[in-house]
């Protein structure tokens, strides 16, 4: 009986892993790379980093860009929420902090939101950030 159960559980785990692998990326480890569509939109300056820690659409909105941005932002929000709770901070505090760092990490050519709300193209110079950013 015990042996039978163990086999069943093992089989279930293996099946789950196989499905996850087939769907692609679900069981992917950390340090994964950006989705190609997102990477392309980012490099083209169609999307940019906002001050609040989320991604924004810089150019005229298209359904495809909206899909990419929503997908990323939903995932970011989930991460912020979890980490904020661990750090005993609010979601907004954590998101704003991540926004500071995400803007600092943009590379020349990418878009980011300046403290006045305008979209800026990152150059070699440090980005214009909120005065509270570290």
């Amino acid at each position: 009986m015990g042996d039978f159960m163990t086999k069943r559980v093992t089989k279930a785990i293996l099946t789950g892993a196989a499905i996850a692998t087939a769907l692609g990326g679900i069981a992917a480890p950390a340090y994964a790379q950006r989705d190609p569509a997102y990477a392309a939109a980012r490099a083209a300056g169609e999307v940019g980093e906002k001050m609040d820690g989320y991604l924004g659409i810089v150019v005229a909105e298209t359904p495809e860009l909206r899909r990419i941005v929503n997908d990323i932002n939903i995932k970011r929000r989930a991460v912020y929420s979890e980490k904020a709770q661990e750090s005993n901070a609010t979601l907004e505090e954590y998101a704003l902090t991540a926004g500071c760092i995400a803007i600092a990490k943009t590379v020349p050519g990418e878009k980011y939101q300046a403290p006045d709300g305008s979209w800026q193209t990152r150059t070699d110079a440090p980005p214009m950030r909120d005065s509270r950013c570290p």
Binding site: A28, A30, K75, V79, S87, L96, T97, A98, I101, R132
Partner: protein, 84 residues
Amino acid sequence: MTSDELTDRGGLATTGIMQGKQGMRGIKKMAVAALASLTLAGCITVEAPDKPIVIELNVNIRQEVIYRLAEDAGNTIEENADIF
């Protein structure tokens, strides 16, 4: 209550008569006070600010909180490189 229990009536209120010199002194004091207040009024000036008062949004998020979270947020971004 009967009238027996009441105490005797007090004397009628009288008006004091101002006496020459003392009365004048009072008027002088008032004049000095009025002058002093006029002089002081010239010193205290309250000017309206020429620029509108700006209240920054998200003011409830303090810099010290951001500094405390910075390292952790940096790690989070590296660990979730696919969505940043």
